[in-house]
């Protein structure tokens, strides 16, 4: 079971990492902005192909040797978990190394060919684009919170019947393997953490909504579709994660309150389904966003180009722009969002809840 779960995770990661160059905006190649007319340059295509090939083939070798090792050597559970944590980290580092290499190559290519140097740089927006935004309204995110409050209330009511040992961790077999002493706080600590995460999702949704809808001057229509799709599906995907987490946490809480309520099979399969649905959702999200607006052909706008924002992107990965009031901006390498690191509010929204959860789990 553990082997299957980790095999799926590794395979998922390998495919996603390898596909990134084909899922990002066409006008940003390895974190370097490329004027529309040069995006089809043969060198750039070659770079993308080489990146995808290297990442995918190395990952496959790792994946297959992992499978063989897992099945033939039948390693101990602990050993397996250790290796399975190390492999994804190694894969991410590998793709990062490839990224850094091709980022440098692309930067060099752009400079050598003086791409975009003769263009008049402009910024555009459409005054009506805000009315087309389809992100979920904030109150949708209250629904899972209501469920959590219900679970907390029910736990309080059932307090006398709760066991003396409250589970805090579940092993790969779906059964609890770590416990803490029963206390009014420890029994509701899991739903409380869930509540903090739900507040964080709400906060991210709202700040994303307030962040800019960035249009491109040379491909206004395509960029509009991409931005609106990214916003819509981000808010749906985040809502899905919030719902799934609520279901999983409520499920575990109920299994603690009523011991033996769910059979061993259910305990084993529930987290597995949780994982599969999240991966499925992530794939749909990446593909929907990655393909959005790509069918729209080139609009013929001569002599102008988008403002070259490379100066605000450190290494093509970290966005730092004091003038932009946006807290979240679309990632340059990968599908999704990244923080505007020049805006302190962003740190608060992302790190605040994490710090709370960490402090809470350590000191309570």
């Amino acid at each position: 079971m553990t082997l299957t779960i980790f095999a799926i995770i590794i395979l998922f990661l390998a495919v996603m990492e390898a596909a990134i160059p084909y899922l990002v905006k066409r006008t940003v190649v390895f974190g370097v902005s490329i004027p529309e007319e040069y995006t089809k340059a043969s060198e750039l295509r070659e770079y993308k192909k080489r990146y995808a090939l290297i990442v995918f083939s190395v990952s496959m070798v790792v994946f297959i040797s992992f499978l063989l090792w897992g099945m033939l050597a039948s390693p101990a559970e602990e050993q397996l978990v250790l290796v399975c944590t190390a492999i994804p980290i190694a894969m991410i580092l590998l793709s990062l190394a490839c990224y850094v290499y091709f980022h440098a190559k692309t930067t060099q290519l752009k400079r050598q060919n003086r791409w975009g140097e003769n263009l008049k740089q402009v910024r555009v927006t459409d005054l009506s684009v805000r009315s087309q935004d389809e992100m979920l309204p904030w109150y949708m995110y209250l629904l899972p919170m209501v469920v959590t409050l219900g679970v907390i209330g029910y736990t309080v009511l059932q307090y006398p019947t709760l066991p003396e040992q409250i589970p805090t961790h579940w092993g790969p077999n779906g059964q609890p393997d770590a416990f803490t002493a029963k206390s009014p706080i420890s029994v509701i600590s899991a739903p409380l953490i869930l509540l903090v995460m739900q507040v964080m999702f709400l906060g991210i949704n709202e700040t994303t909504k307030r962040s800019g809808i960035k249009l491109s001057a040379t491909r206004t229509e395509a960029s509009r579709i991409r931005q609106l799709t990214l916003r819509k599906y981000t808010s749906w995907f985040m809502f899905l994660i919030s719902l799934l987490l609520t279901m999983l946490f409520s499920f575990l809480q109920l299994s603690t309150i009523h011991e033996g309520l769910f059979g061993e099979g259910t305990m084993l399969i529930a987290p597995f389904i949780f994982l599969l649905v999240i991966f499925g959702g992530a794939i749909v999200y990446a593909v929907k966003v990655g393909r959005a607006g790509e069918k729209i052909g080139t609009e013929s706008v001569e002599g102008i180009g988008d403002v070259d924002e490379d100066q605000y992107w450190k290494g093509g990965l970290f966005y730092f722009n004091k003038n932009d009031p946006s807290i979240f901006v679309e990632k340059r390498f990968g599908v999704g969002w990244t923080l505007n690191l020049a805006n302190p509010k962003g740190y608060f929204i992302v790190l605040g809840p994490l710090a709370f959860i960490l402090l809470f789990t350590y000191f309570v």
Binding site: K120, Q121, V122, R123, V124, T125, D126, L127, S128, V129, R130, R210, S211, G212, I213, K214, L215, A217, T220, V307, E309, N321, N323, D324, P325, S326
Partner: protein, 131 residues
């Protein structure tokens, strides 16, 4: 309506914004009573500082063309409201004087200037450009 600014131009960004909004209203791409985005949203969409958008909105409010609604944005005033408090004539006269003076210095004939005024008016008031 599409707003396009040029950060490296000699004309300050807030003025480019003001001019384009004015032109949009004149053309009919922006209608009276229609609201403009909030300062934060507009600045975020364009990736410029909020003060820049704020300055442009205040400039337009000072001229009586929009009404700033705290927190939600700005609304384009109705024709009656714009005409009612009308100290505009003198200001426009003054501004045109500057331009006409420059045109005369540059050797434009008075017919040429009249023709220019007529053709610009026709261009703006003629067929409204699609959004």
């Amino acid at each position: 309506m599409i707003i396009q600014i040029e950060p490296q131009s000699d004309i300050p960004i807030y003025m480019q914004l003001t001019n384009q909004i004015l032109e949009g209203i004149a053309r009919g791409a922006l209608r009276q009573g229609e609201s403009l985005p909030s300062v934060r949203a507009f600045a975020a969409d364009l990736g410029v500082n909020m003060h820049t958008v704020n300055k442009s909105y205040h400039e337009l409010e000072k001229r009586g063309i929009i009404r700033i609604v705290p927190k939600s944005g700005a609304v384009i005033q109705s024709q009656e409201a714009i005409e009612k408090n009308n100290p505009h004539y003198q200001r426009i006269q003054q501004e045109m004087k500057t331009v006409i003076a420059e045109a005369l210095v540059l050797g434009f004939k008075s017919e040429q200037i009249e023709e220019l005024v007529a053709s610009v008016t026709k261009e703006l008031k003629g067929k409204p450009r699609l959004k």
